[in-house]
């Protein structure tokens, strides 16, 4: 709680070993507060939180050496070079690394050619990569990445996605917060949509899309009024869009079965287009607005 504001309100979540769990939501939704509670950096006013089986309220110090943390808007030390920063961090975790190990780690995050560059001179994406390298020095089972790509250009963002995918392949468990829908959709095994301190939906991207995406839409190009009547006679919901007819595939029905029914009914159309809902539609349906750069817009 921040004064009267309840930042995180009775949320219940479980992250499984080896998965990428993404907490998706707008700015101020409570994502960072949740992550900081789980990192042991913030005390919850009530409730229970366990990380790697350790109760944070009783022994958060134990968690420190076992998790990797990339805070939101991470900035490295201006006057340390990447190998120095990694070496420093590894010493803090009691795992001194030799020069080769440091280089391997920097190679892993794509900073192998930035060994001589001071932290202040790294680009935004390179700084986050260095942050991820530092988060990995303790060889943690669990890594918290708090909005790792916020503020980065699309190319740098996609580069970081590759790093995160590699970590996932290496068997790391990743707790990722983001306000980019496509990031959650690209990377996450499971997604929790958070808004105003509450988790409003959670599941795998496919599950969320199936349950909350509003169903697939089939567009029958040039079908006209005749097509609309014919579709209606099949018991399907449809609407006109110019000369096109938009048919909503009901939840729990397979799209290919609906297409087969339409084809059998000899409904005249020039072309058929399938529009599959994405996480954006799920977010719109659950929160009531579009998520644009961390802000909900109607």
């Amino acid at each position: 709680m921040y004064g009267e504001l309840t930042a995180v309100d009775h949320i219940d979540l479980q992250v499984f070993s080896g998965e990428v769990y993404s907490m998706l939501g707008p700015n101020g939704a409570g994502k960072t507060t949740t992550v900081e509670i789980l990192e042991g950096l913030r005390d919850p006013t009530s409730g229970e939180a366990k990380v790697l089986g350790i109760d944070l309220r009783k022994a958060y110090r134990e968690v420190r050496g076992k998790v990797g943390v990339l805070p939101q808007l991470f900035e490295p030390w201006d006057n340390l070079r990447p190998p120095e920063a990694v070496s420093y961090w590894s010493s803090l975790f009691g795992r001194d690394m030799d020069a080769k190990q440091v280089k391997n780690l920097l190679d892993l995050v794509g900073l192998g050619d930035k060994q001589k560059v001071l932290g202040a001179r790294l680009s935004g994406g390179e700084k986050r990569r260095l942050g991820i390298a530092m988060a990995l020095v303790g060889n943690p089972e669990l890594i918290f990445l708090d909005e790792p790509t916020t503020g980065l250009d699309p190319q740098a963002r996609r580069g970081l996605w590759e790093v995160i995918r590699d970590l996932r392949k290496a068997g790391k468990t990743i707790f990722l917060t983001t306000h980019y829908l496509e990031e959650a959709e690209e990377l996450a095994d499971r997604v929790a949509i958070m808004n105003r301190g509450k988790i409003v939906a959670s599941g795998s991207p496919d599950e969320l899309i199936t349950l909350h995406g509003g169903g697939t839409i089939l567009v029958l190009r040039g079908a006209g009024e005749e097509g609309l009547k014919a579709v209606g006679s099949l018991g399907l919901q449809a609407q006109m869009d110019g000369r096109d007819v938009q048919v909503r595939v009901p939840p729990l029905q397979r799209t290919k079965d609906v297409i087969a029914n339409i084809t059998r009914a000899n409904i005249p159309f020039k072309d058929l287009e399938t529009i599959r809902p994405v996480l954006e539609d799920v977010f719109f349906n659950m929160v009531g607005g579009k998520l644009v750069e961390g802000v909900v817009k109607p």
Partner: protein, 366 residues
């Protein structure tokens, strides 16, 4: 301990790559020593007296009586005698060289004394200057003594002046311990206040909180760094002060302990101040607000005894006063008892601020 050393190494590396940190730790104090040394290195308790002796023989040698007078003036130990060429106009010379006081021994001085004719020596100068009064007093005393000798054959009572310090006390000797106090105050306190604000603002405290490093380890690493930095900086100042200006200050065990405890005190005070500010600009403002009055009121640049009474009372509650006082006591005057008492005061105040900083500093979010 390994974590403390790792933090010390990383912090030190970053600090030395920061040009402003290195400037204030090494270059700035040396510049101050060079400037103040150049201005004051020749001034001490002695007043300079420029003397023009017109009473010379055909070979240009001082007459016996004028030579005796000049020697008498030198013997007092109160004046530093510099000679003005006898072929220049003394009034022009005084004006051209901005002298506040000069003495002229006239032609025929020796003759007049030998023949019991009244002989005048002339003190020329600005009576509003303190040195004028000193010169009048010293010249009168020496002349009176000579008059008595001439009257009775020899003087019956003489004043013997003796230095109480190990060597002659000069401003540069006074200044170097003050500068050490100044640098022990500024670098650790100003830096730490800013560092704490920067660490909070850029999320470094939260980042560190996610590691096994403890707050105490972090605090100790900073104190160790500033102790090392201060010793390096002070060694440089010492070399410049002694090498360039011949300062007579001793590096004693108590001086070393005072430098360590002073650094501990002002690093802790900087951390304490840094807790209450959220950005480096505010930290600099608050450190300036506290640091600048302290450096001027604590006898860094001039003796506390010269300040008005109320300012002396203020100086009495400032920790820097005890640091500079203790450093002067042990480095210049050889008064180890005073230095030891000051050391204890600095240590106790340092412990208080360290405990306050450690308790008030929070790395975790609220």
């Amino acid at each position: 301990m390994n974590r403390t050393l790792a933090d010390l190494k990383a912090y030190g590396k970053g600090y030395m790559r920061n040009r402003s940190g290195a400037f204030f730790a090494f270059i700035f104090p040396v510049i101050l020593i060079l400037i103040f040394g150049a201005i004051f290195s020749n001034t001490g308790t002695k007043t300079t007296l420029n003397v023009q002796n017109l009473d010379k023989d055909a070979l240009g040698n001082d007459s016996p009586e004028s030579a005796r007078l000049i020697a008498g003036l030198k013997r007092t130990g109160a004046l530093e005698i510099k000679m003005i060429p006898s072929d220049v106009n003394i009034d022009d010379y005084i004006r051209d060289n901005s002298l506040s006081v000069a003495l002229q021994i006239p032609y025929g001085f020796n003759y007049s004394v030998d023949h019991n004719i009244l002989a005048n020596v002339t003190v020329k100068g600005d009576p509003t200057q303190g040195s004028f009064g000193v010169v009048i007093g010293v010249v009168s005393a020496v002349v009176n003594q000579r008059n008595i000798e001439l009257l009775y054959g020899s003087a019956k009572i003489l004043v013997h002046a003796q230095n109480i310090g190990s060597e002659q006390f000069r401003y540069i000797d006074f200044f170097i311990p003050g500068m050490i106090g100044f640098i022990v105050l500024t670098s650790p306190m100003f830096s730490m206040a800013s560092v704490c604000a920067e660490y909070r603002g850029r999320g470094y405290f939260k980042l560190l909180a996610s590691t096994p490093l403890t707050k105490s380890e972090w605090l100790i690493s900073k104190i160790l760094w500033y102790v090392l930095l201060m010793f390096s900086s002070i060694a440089l100042m010492y070399v410049v002060g002694v090498g360039v200006y011949g300062a007579r200050v001793a590096i004693t065990p108590l001086a070393i302990l005072l430098i360590m405890t002073g650094t501990f005190l002002f690093t802790s005070l900087g951390m304490f101040l840094g807790i209450f500010v959220s950005n480096p600009e505010s930290a600099a403002a608050i450190a300036n607000a506290i640091g600048f009055p302290m450096m001027f009121l604590s006898g860094t640049f001039f003796p506390i005894e010269q300040m008005p009474d109320f300012m002396q009372k203020v100086a009495g509650v400032l920790p820097l006063t005890y640091l500079t006082q203790g450093l002067r006591a042990t480095m210049v005057l050889g008064n180890e008892v005073t230095a030891a008492v000051d050391l204890v005061i600095v240590l106790v105040v340092g412990i208080v601020f360290f405990v306050l900083a450690a308790r008030a500093m929070s790395w975790k979010g609220k």
